[in-house]
Symmetry: C2
Subunit: 502 residues, 2 copies
Amino acid sequence: MTIEASNVLRAKRLGIDTHQEAVIYMRRDCHVCRAEGFSAQARIRVASGASFVIATVNLITGELLASGEAGLSEAAWRRLECEEGASLRVSHARPLDSLSDVRAKVYGRQFENSAISSIMRDIVEGRYSDIHLSSFITACAARGLNEREVIHLTRAMVAAGERLDWGTPLIVDKHCVGGLPGNRTTPIVVAIAAACGLTMPKTSSRAITSPAGTADTMETLAPVDLDLNAMRRVVEKEGGCIVWGGAVDLSPADDTLIRVERALDIDSEGQLVASVLSKKAAAGATHLVIDMPVGLTAKVRTDGDAVSLKTSLLKTAEALAVKTRVIQTDGRQPVGRGIGPSLEAQDVLKVLRRDAEAPEDLRRRAVALAGALLELSGVVAEGEGESAAAAVIADGRAWAKFQAICDAQGGMREPPQSAYQHPILADHGGLIEAIDNRRLAKAAKLAGAPDAKAAGLELHGFLGQRVETSEPLFTLHAETRGEIDYALEYLDSHPPIFEIEA
Amino acid sequence: MTIEASNVLRAKRLGIDTHQEAVIYMRRDCHVCRAEGFSAQARIRVASGASFVIATVNLITGELLASGEAGLSEAAWRRLECEEGASLRVSHARPLDSLSDVRAKVYGRQFENSAISSIMRDIVEGRYSDIHLSSFITACAARGLNEREVIHLTRAMVAAGERLDWGTPLIVDKHCVGGLPGNRTTPIVVAIAAACGLTMPKTSSRAITSPAGTADTMETLAPVDLDLNAMRRVVEKEGGCIVWGGAVDLSPADDTLIRVERALDIDSEGQLVASVLSKKAAAGATHLVIDMPVGLTAKVRTDGDAVSLKTSLLKTAEALAVKTRVIQTDGRQPVGRGIGPSLEAQDVLKVLRRDAEAPEDLRRRAVALAGALLELSGVVAEGEGESAAAAVIADGRAWAKFQAICDAQGGMREPPQSAYQHPILADHGGLIEAIDNRRLAKAAKLAGAPDAKAAGLELHGFLGQRVETSEPLFTLHAETRGEIDYALEYLDSHPPIFEIEA
């Protein structure tokens, strides 16, 4: 049979961005489609050179493709590192055997370790469609993962991607169990840790559902889009860095799973633990501090949830030999004043520069986390971490180290200022009793954050503070007048973000 | 704000077939994308005239679209009944509130009836992405559905689509809980029932994973692609019809869910019951006979599964006021000799024409099912159904009625003959002890069924039969030599389909 030989098509870039989904566009009358029986939505293997991708078939009836051509979505084009006219070899994908393990979990069986490994490998190779991914996530949430399963899931996620080796036995890291706007302690913690001689090669994410990720904020101060070699040079020179993690292929299964979890708004404890710790273990961390804000509108809502999550994090971290401390913090309101990349960067700068107006809550939280890292890694004795960390800010060493890191990353810059501002006033006086973190984040996003770097909002009112009628609670910042209107429309049509007891 | 007014784009047909998925292609620099913050994979509302669809955004960077244009996938184009250059109004989709009910099921809560209704409505309106659909299916399978939930799910699936009214109090129907190749009793049962004065407006499906659906088989004998009005005319004239159900919008939620269940290979009992009975209730059935083949390679594998499924089917049918009888049948081997549209049609014709070579197992099964319908609907007394049904075949009334139905559907025709045949021989002599239905169906599909109408296979060996070495077990039929090779390649690389005890 000569089917293999005839299964070659010429690549054409159609310029269609399907986000992460690999799509191959084939003429309906294409000989390969007919011979192989490929139909629309079939998932097939597409190879170019030594690379392959599992892609969804879309069939073309019009004139988009010439005979013998196949189009690729941008995601497929990137993964195949394709060139115009390159030969694409298409074939049936091998059967998805690991799906039977997902079905077994649906019906209540525990995963064997080998099943978890197979599933993670198939996910990383792009063999799971959204339907399969969603079933895996849902089955794990519905049936739960026991301690062994969570530990092995974490290990399998690490094994399915790159793992960094820094050539030194002690690598510190921090993580925040998300959900609290403005909680931008990372640049400060890295500066303190590196100033104390620790190695802290910090990779951070860009915002996905929030108004700013650490990478977005840091980008207003210095380049963050460094590849692994550039990152290594910064860390060798300064002991620390704060770069975007996207250029480094750590726990790629996690990125895929997170996208689906977000669409479902399902966040099972086992998946969360594996997600956090697989990223850290893959990044080479040996000592880790986790900030866990608890509050009704934070990710972790109750003390009970916090205890359970903390236990699972610590057990799994121990199994992966990552020495970890979890610090429960106040998650009832944002940290600092700014929400949005540039506005948060200004808070960070004020703390590092010891500005008289520096937000004290941000400074204290960064000191608590950095102090814990200093204790955990044996730089100072137990109980002396916070004062040591505070001293590093107070004597200017943290600020000097931060500037040096920014320079090493490509040069420090000042965060941009917004073009438009609009204050939101209290409609009655009284005591601020609650602040809705989620709606506050939503308003900042509608104002343009994080894409518009200077956009977001600046808080003036905090919990326990007394305000008068028409006193500003926060100020919207935007690059365009239209985005201010967009945020105002949202605020007008939703319950107030601040609860003020008259 | 004038955002609404500016959210209009001109429709362009790109000729991209994404199967059922509605996709809107928008230029990345499109003003609407920027103003609304639409990104690739966002799901947005696209309206044209009085129709709307929830579509996935793909962003275009090249020259496929002019400024102010938006492309639509074929599925979106059809649902909007669009014309080239028509105005498309795009906006954010309303929040998917029913997803919180799916999450509650994930975490073990029962569905309220209102939650099931909301979920079905959202599914039918296309608001659920594959990720959401898969989570719903998986959660139902993992947590199960109790009797009340299954009954309400069935009702909600009926309510979310059309419901046919035939203006007569007694409508009979039949269903087979799938999985058995060649089990093509429907045309015979309809002919008998209609010949006995019953009303049997039968809608059937095309093959999805099998080598032939009833609609595929029937299409080799008469047109089946009738709309509701044409179907009504046939039924008024002849008392029965056998048409493709796709042109009638019955239980559209079921079609969507079945696609996802198939991708997951998950078939929970509750979903199966709701699927079968929602289609039948929506079609207006009042009396229903269900054929349930049981066998190791059929859909229902054990007697225990059969009892549980039968109980749930009967309870739910009672709640929906559909008088139902479930008949457990032998599912250990195919029924009749042919597998594939045309080959199965030839078996049907032989039975109706009382041909000496008519497959007796197909005749007996059709008689059993038709007899049950005659008893259930009171045409004959209990215990007299089978003999009455057999008499209708024997005296030629069934054959006359079948020809009349075919004529009313647009004219009877002879099924096509295949161009290529290839016999598969026993490699040793002995007693046939088992036949793998699933692999047999796979071979028929590789030979070209159901798209190639004459393709498939013809059985010569049956359970309990003694064969000699090199005696033919079955013959492959195909339209091209290549498809014969394709099927042979599969047979060569897999365990034998026939177990022959030497």
